[in-house]
């Protein structure tokens, strides 16, 4: 088995006296995906933030590419892509300018060509010169997908990637995730509902009261049917 690209070991996090995560263990190898399913407030976003190194756990450790997430070298940070509820886009820049900025930051080769291709891919080529502030939430999410993927990350952390997307957009997001998996990217994503699983075809575990239930930590088995609950939480207990 390949060394996990995304890993959590005994991750514990509380806000004040309220525990949010209670000893999370998971490991996602390159080319594999794990969907973390949970209700609002289950701690999904907190878990992804800790995996990315955005915040310190009270106990345990989050690791990316074998190194502690909070002490990643620049070269390792370049290999990470993240999609959150915040799009990380600048409202007063155009779609193209936003991607140009992130291409410059990530030193993307042939950035002009990549930007053109990605704008086309996410269906925003016609809006390349429009400022993001004029975008609908769904358009912003499409551009955020391009932003998170344009540097071809080796690990992807995606917080509800299908949120705000219409059916076409959700299908596009699922296709982009499958393509990332096919080229060896490790993906951790969150969702409220298990039926998003059909689109991505990945392993799933349910986050309940700060604990990950269900399948074992090894999330390699993207093709194993027993990882696919028929409805939220069904396969996790």
């Amino acid at each position: 088995m390949d060394a996990p690209a995304i890993e959590a070991r005994g991750l514990f996090k509380s806000f004040g006296a309220t525990p949010v995560l209670r000893g999370i263990d998971l490991a996602i190898a390159p080319g594999c995906a794990l969907m973390i399913i949970g209700r609002n407030g289950a701690g999904k976003s907190t878990l992804l933030r800790l995996l990315a190194g955005l915040g310190a756990p009270n106990d345990g450790e989050a690791r990316l590419f074998g190194a502690p997430s909070r002490r990643l070298e620049a070269a390792a940070r370049r290999r990470l892509g993240m999609l959150t509820h915040q799009s990380y886009l600048y409202p007063n820049l155009t779609a193209r300018e936003n991607l140009e900025f992130y291409c410059a930051v990530y030193r993307v080769a042939d950035s002009a060509g990549e930007i053109g291709r990605w704008l086309e891919r996410v269906g925003l080529a016609r809006f390349a010169a429009e400022r993001v502030r004029a975008f609908s939430r769904g358009m912003e999410q499409r551009l955020a997908l391009a932003r998170a993927l344009i540097h071809r990350p080796d690990a992807l952390l995606m917080d509800e990637p299908f949120a705000a997307l219409d059916p076409d957009g959700a299908e596009l997001a699922a296709t982009l995730i499958r393509e990332a998996l096919a080229r060896g990217c490790a993906v951790a994503l969150t969702a409220h509902r298990a039926f998003d699983l059909d689109a991505v075809r990945c392993a799933a575990r349910e986050l309940v009261r700060g604990r990950l239930l269900g399948a074992p930590a090894d999330a390699r088995a993207a093709d194993r049917a027993d990882y696919f609950p028929a409805h939220p939480g069904a396969g996790a207990r």
Binding site: R77, M82, T84, E97, V105
Partner: protein, 247 residues
């Protein structure tokens, strides 16, 4: 959370900053983006210019200067008070705006060199303050009946050092304010007391320049300002990484 030893990190940061990329590449990208946003919104510069001029007008009415070289200390004081209080509103906007729209996290996750990021924010804040200072100096000349002569030009080193130091301090405090509860209140509470040494030196140097004193009379004050600038630029360059960190 396990405490990280700061001293070795600082030492390593100076000796071997992250060199996977040319740091200036990230610097240029962030500065270009901030200037583009400012040209479109103009929030920082407009706030700086408007507030500076407003404060200067209040000072002029309060002090009722007669005009000419005799009022040099008053003019210098008014100039620096206007610059500092307006600077608090505008100089830190580039960092605070990143926090408001959440993009600070994207920058934190990116391979950008954190020192280069600090320098880019410092450069952007300095440019906004230069524009504001230019407007304030023009107003100062009008309100205090000063002449456009060499004395104004001799004030420039003090102004340049002063704005770099203040922009560095404001950028640093803006990063700190995002980590603490009611951080917005922290800026005015900390900025002015911390800036006092440079503020006094700046007023003295500017008064000496406007009063026609020789360069030697400004020298000691300029040296204090250089020391202040070196201290806060270095502190920001080294510590910015840890201030962006979230708990």
């Amino acid at each position: 959370m396990r405490a990280r030893p700061i001293a070795p990190i600082i030492f390593l940061r100076i000796l071997a900053p992250e060199r996977a990329d040319p740091p200036m590449a990230g610097f240029a990208a962030v500065l270009r983006k901030d200037l583009t946003l400012e040209l479109r919104g103009g929030e920082s510069t407009l706030a700086l210019v408007a507030l500076s001029i407003l404060i200067l007008i209040v000072m002029v009415f309060a002090l009722d200067p007669a005009g000419g070289a005799a009022d040099a200390p008053i003019a210098a004081g008014a100039l620096w008070v206007a610059m500092i209080f307006a600077g608090m509103a505008g100089a830190a906007r580039t960092v605070l705006a990143e926090r408001d729209n959440g993009c600070i996290r994207a920058l934190y996750l990116s391979p950008l060199d954190r020192g280069a990021l600090f320098l880019a924010k410092l450069a952007a804040a300095s440019i906004f303050m230069i524009v504001a200072e230019a407007a304030v100096v023009l107003m100062l000349v009008l309100f205090f009946n000063l002449d456009f002569d060499l004395r104004l030009a001799r004030m420039l080193p003090a102004l340049a050092l002063g704005l770099i130091g203040f922009a560095a301090l404001a950028t640093l405090l803006a990063a700190i304010s995002g980590r603490v509860h009611a951080g917005d209140l922290l800026m005015p509470l900390l900025a002015v007391p911390m800036y006092v040494p440079a503020l006094i030196a700046g007023v003295k140097a500017s008064a000496a320049a406007l009063g026609g004193a020789p360069w030697s009379a400004m020298g000691q004050w300029l040296r204090i300002m250089i020391a202040f600038d070196v201290l806060f630029v270095a502190a920001g360059f080294i510590l910015f990484e840890h201030l962006l960190d979230e708990d």
